[in-house]
């Protein structure tokens, strides 16, 4: 366990070393929330959604989590191509331990990227409570783990062709974000694509986080179902990626 944490903290120190990127991501969030969020909330006047501004803010956090999870997965692939992965695979840590360290890295990366915006949004909208912030962060972090797991699970494609991997991930990202309840409640989504939205993990992550923060449950999926799905995706994809790391991925191909 000590080695898992040592490896994770080494990776995390890289995020800290690139702190300007972190600050810029918070600034971008604030900009998008402030400008687009207020614009959208004025455009969307619905009696059913009392506070679309806040609804949008949570959606933006889910997008940030999705970006962070994708980043963790993409970093994994980049490590292989830049030569870091062979080094990591030569360290005295099991493949499962290696993946656990990536998961810890993913969790910390998610907290660093989404934690301050979450607190900012809650404070700005006057909804800040400690339990609310804690459980919202828990929900978002679990979602982040699932997204990282999905991206790492697809990384074996990158070992065949990085172009195909990029194309698949770009397509998948577009589908997962668009066909979800990130920016629109499920009940408003037209019937021709609402069935598709229930296949996006973001739908469950977004609705669970909103429920935790006290949104009207009638606009959301069943929170127990959402919690089960988000947890299952995190555990399932991380187990899958552990199997992939152990059985399929080899650090380098050399002759």
């Amino acid at each position: 366990m000590n080695r898992v944490l040592t490896l994770a903290s080494f990776n995390i120190s890289m995020i800290v070393a690139e702190r300007m990127g972190l600050v810029l991501s918070w600034a971008l969030f604030a900009l998008q929330f402030g400008i687009f969020g207020s614009l959208m909330s004025h455009l969307v006047q619905s009696t059913k959604v009392q506070d679309y501004f806040f609804f949008y803010g949570v959606g933006l956090m889910v997008i940030t989590v999705f970006d962070t999870g994708s980043f963790v997965g993409r970093r994994f692939v980049e490590r292989a191509h830049e030569g870091e992965l062979p080094y990591y695979l030569s360290l005295p840590i099991s493949r499962r331990g290696f993946l656990e360290s990536q998961a810890v890295y993913g969790v910390v990366a998610t907290i660093l990227r989404v934690g301050p915006p979450l607190i900012g949004v809650l404070a700005f909208t006057g909804r800040f409570t400690l339990p609310g912030a804690f459980f919202a962060l828990l929900s978002l972090t679990t979602l982040g783990l699932g997204i990282s797991g999905i991206m790492i699970s697809f990384s074996f494609i990158a070992f065949k062709s990085i172009d195909i991997y990029n194309a698949i991930i770009a397509g998948l990202s577009a589908l997962l974000v668009r066909f979800s309840t990130v920016f629109y409640p499920l009940i408003f989504i037209p019937s021709f694509y609402s069935p598709v939205a229930v296949f996006s993990p973001l739908t469950y992550g977004a609705d669970l986080t909103r429920w935790v923060l006290g949104f009207d449950p009638h606009l959301l999926l069943n929170p127990i179902l959402a919690a089960v799905v988000v947890t299952a995706i995190a555990l399932g994809t991380l187990s899958l990626s552990a199997g992939i790391v152990d059985k399929i991925i080899e650090g380098v191909k050399a002759a």
């Binding site: 040592t6 080494f10 690139e18 490590r79 062979p86 695979l89 030569s90 005295p92 080899e250 002759a255």
Partner: protein, 342 residues
């Protein structure tokens, strides 16, 4: 329950038996052992049924041109690559069944020193040392000493991405030196390093061997192999061509040693005939005062030649002996030069 008294003959027999068993077991334990090891990438066989061993405490140099399978073998030994078939053991531990334990006893300096762009050399070494449980009290001193020895101390606070190719390569070596593993693997340790740096790295590798580590060095540099090797394994197209000490490999080339003898007077036909009768000679070509002979073992032939010449009254003015290079050895065993592509 005690079956034998310690002074009984049966106890002596048991003690001898156990001692012999221990000897047999110990002698069969190699630091590295592969059996019919194969690795295939698509339709390319990188390793073919390789049987390879390294004794404990030796420096084994794997010599071969690019594409001969050197790196694939090393990557398989350090569990990064999985063999397609066959087995490989490091310190008696199977690389497939017990990869984590293998990684605990070995360290590798990779051919390409890449990654960790935004980390400093000192933090990379600290991380590496902590992953291998190097005593935290001694860690800092060890890192400082190694960095100074490899002339990296001045660059300790530079970011990795600002290091030169040679510095990055030395950092790669420093990781293994700080770790002091039971099995240390160096993949082309001095490529991109200047001559002074090469000598330093080679000396540190030998020092590591003297401290008890078993070393494998993969290279296609003849000078590196000559400087480091206790034994050399020649790999060609994924197969082991030959494995022995450098002197024995050179001696294996019939007529590989070239002896050029200068006489004070022109070489007489009778002398040539007598020298031919000495044996161990492949070709001999007299020309004026000079005699050029291709012999298998110059160290055996030259004393006999000087003695015969003395008896014939022929006075020798110069003797020049040229040994075959490792490139000649490679050429002899594979039919190709190290410089050529596979």
């Amino acid at each position: 329950m005690l079956f034998f008294r310690s002074d009984s003959p049966r106890f002596d027999f048991l003690r001898t038996f156990l001692s012999l068993t221990s000897c047999v077991l110990h002698s069969s334990l190699f630091a590295v052992e592969t059996l019919s090891l194969s690795k295939r990438y698509g339709k390319t066989d990188a390793l073919r049924e390789l049987n390879f061993t390294v004794d404990e405490g030796e420096i084994m140099v794997i010599l071969g041109p690019n594409g001969s399978g050197k790196t694939t073998l090393l990557m398989t030994l350090c569990t990064i690559l999985k063999p397609t078939s066959g087995t490989a053991k490091v310190m008696g531990i199977d690389v497939v069944k017990d990869g984590t334990k293998v990684r605990e006893v070995m360290g590798i300096a990779f051919q390409e020193a890449r990654g960790f762009w935004r980390h400093k050399p000192s933090s990379i070494l600290k991380f590496h040392a902590s992953m291998f449980d190097i005593d935290p009290v001694k860690r800092q001193d060890l890192i400082e000493q190694t960095m100074k020895e490899l002339e990296l101390w001045e660059s300790r606070d530079k970011l990795f991405m600002h290091l030169s190719g040679g510095q990055a390569k030395r950092l790669e070596t420093a990781k293994v030196l700080v770790q002091r593993p039971k099995l240390a693997i160096f993949d082309e340790p001095t490529s991109q390093v200047d001559l002074r740096g090469k000598r330093k790295i080679w000396d540190k590798i030998r020092e590591l061997r003297d401290q008890g580590s078993t070393i494998i060095v993969a290279t296609n540099e003849v000078r590196e192999a000559e400087y480091l090797a206790d034994r050399v394994t020649i790999l060609h197209k994924g197969t082991l061509v030959v494995r022995d000490s450098i002197p024995k490999l050179k001696d294996a080339i019939a007529g590989g040693d070239v002896v050029e003898v200068g006489f004070e007077d022109p070489v007489a036909d009778k002398l040539v005939e007598d020298l031919k009768n000495l044996g161990g000679i492949l070709t001999m070509s007299p020309e004026g005062n000079q005699l050029r002979a291709n012999v298998s073992k110059a160290e055996d032939w030259v004393p006999r030649m000087t003695s015969a010449s003395y008896n014939m009254g022929a006075k020798i003015s110069t003797i020049k002996i040229t040994e075959p290079s490792l490139d000649d050895v490679f050429l002899h065993f594979t039919g190709k030069s190290l410089e050529e592509n596979p």
